[in-house]
Amino acid sequence: MRYEALHFALRNRKLVAGTVVILVFLVAGLAGPLMFDHGPNDYVGPPMAAPSGEFWFGTTTFGQDVFAQFLYGLRATFLVGVLGGVLAAAVGMVVGFVAGYRGGWVDELLTMLTNIVLVLPALVVLLIVNAYLGVRSIGVQALFIGLTSWPWAARAIRAQTFSLRSRDFVDLARLSGVRTPRIILREIAPNMSSYLFLTFILLFGSAILIAASLDFIGLGPTEGVSLGLMLNNAARWSALQLGLWWWFIPPGAGITAIVGALYVMNVGLDEVFNPKLREM
């Protein structure tokens, strides 16, 4: 069964393409910055230079290397995505598992909480909280994204847990004297691993998008670079009007490519895990 999944995984064009794109960007983000002996914000070149052999993506109004910013920015983007995604997935899982497994009033309560957070427009809440708190680091940004984007994941996981909870092997584990947290962890979660993974991918993608929006509005981290901040800076320094397309195209394209690849990967994985879809 495992091998079968792998077999399909390797043959699924969507999954492979998505994964390749993600890996390329990941490697670029991890290894790329080592190419430079200057920081992403250093004034290293002539201002407003178009892409050239020396500066692949051109330079900003200050003469910063856009390519360097892009590669460093990838790091931040991945970091926010992973941290935000992991946190949201973790909260979503805890809430979803507990609500789904426990049922009863615990479920009622958690479902209520979930619904409340769900109907609150997350980005707007983030805007407000960010504005007040003056969140200024990637970590805190990821924290807030994680804390607001979990509800749909929790809902989905709850529903899944609900159906798994009544499966006999769960009862059997209970008959073996296994305790609840362990049952959730060892019996239920592994059965949803593909689902959890899919959830995480989606949360990962949405965390990146939310972070980019926050950065763009100027509520992003003030130090360092991220793709969203690059967009923000490009807009603020009139890159559009000055025709510095090389400044605002790459970061947006980078985000789109990463998130798009994640989504495509998600569909691919779905097809791998879900035999019904494979026939398509």
């Binding site: 069964m1 006999d168 009862d171 592994p190």
Partner: protein, 303 residues
């Protein structure tokens, strides 16, 4: 050994538990050592619910369940209880976590009950248990559930229960998902276990199977007992119209349904309850019409 006394179960359904659903009401019977009691009834009659209450997978809403006179809810240590009482369920495939190897059910027992047992010693025990359910250990160990047949899986579950030296087994429709050719093997196995002194609560909706293995039979309908007693009496001279109609519906190999049976005319026959003497109504709502043969009133149910 196991005694149910006026057991009921109310499920709260709907939002905020707004509605009540009485799945089991006022059920009393006993399962003795080395005795097979079959629990028979149509779908939704509360059979599984009873089983789950005995297995402490569902809480008891009313009445008591006692094991050797001890209320089972007072046994704080669930492990202690499960060492004596175990269950096997209907769908052998869903009893195994599909992502793990099938023998994980044994590992779980070791982890929880025999953490100190040596690997070799444990292996021997498992093999012994498997052989007692007539499985070739080499054939089944180390495989994934989907690589095994339903019969094999079902027998492994019984082996798992056997590992614990249990005294009571709740077998909830354990053969209805099996092929005709394998189900009889599992049934025979149960009978063998009984011979070793195991009490078995055999839940089924297939009357012929119940008849095949059990000593006593309890017929449930809408959560209430309509008839119970020695199997030969219940099947031989069913006293309640419901039992009769059930029996009439059973397809038999050598007799086709008669035209009379095809039209459900059996309901007209009055129940035996009223003919039983007053003093024999030892259990509430049931009349003892023969030694160890009880029946409920059909008219009262209609009302």
């Amino acid at each position: 050994m196991l005694k149910l006394d006026g057991v009921s179960k109310v499920y709260r359904v709907g939002a905020f538990g707004g509605r009540e659903l009485k799945a089991v009401s006022d059920v009393s019977f006993e399962v003795g050592e080395g005795e097979v009691v079959s629990l028979i009834g149509e779908s939704g009659s509360g059979k599984s619910t009873l089983g789950r209450m005995i297995l402490r997978l569902a809480s008891v809403s009313g009445g008591t369940i006692t094991l050797d006179g001890r209320d089972i809810t007072s046994i704080k240590d669930r492990k202690e209880y499960y060492r004596q009482v175990q269950g096997v369920f209907q769908d052998p495939f869903s009893c195994y976590n599909p992502v793990f190897r099938a023998d994980r059910v044994f590992a779980m027992i070791k982890e929880q009950y025999f953490p100190r047992a040596g690997a070799d010693e444990w292996r021997k025990r498992v093999e012994g248990a498997l052989e007692s359910v007539r499985l070739d250990p080499g054939n089944v160990l180390g495989k994934y559930p989907h690589q095994l047949s339903g019969g094999q899986l079902q027998r492994m579950l019984i082996a798992r229960a056997v590992l614990l030296d249990i005294r009571l087994l709740v077998a909830d429709e354990i053969i209805s998902m099996l092929d005709a050719s394998t189900r009889i093997d599992v049934l025979n196995l149960l009978a063998d276990l009984r011979a070793r002194g195991l009490g078995i609560l055999f839940v089924t909706h297939d009357l012929s199977l119940g008849n095949y293995v059990s000593d006593r039979t309890v017929v449930l309908r809408h959560g209430k007992i309509v008839e119970m007693g020695r199997t030969d009496l219940v099947f031989g001279s069913p006293a309640h119209p419901y039992t009769r109609s059930l029996l009439a519906s059973v397809p038999r190999l050598h007799a086709k349904w008669t035209d009379a049976e095809m039209t459900d005319a059996v309901e007209d026959v009055p129940c035996a309850y009223h003919e039983a003497p007053q003093e024999s109504r030892t259990r509430p709502g049931l009349a003892e019409i023969d030694s160890d043969h009880y029946v409920a009133c059909a008219d009262k149910e209609k009302a």
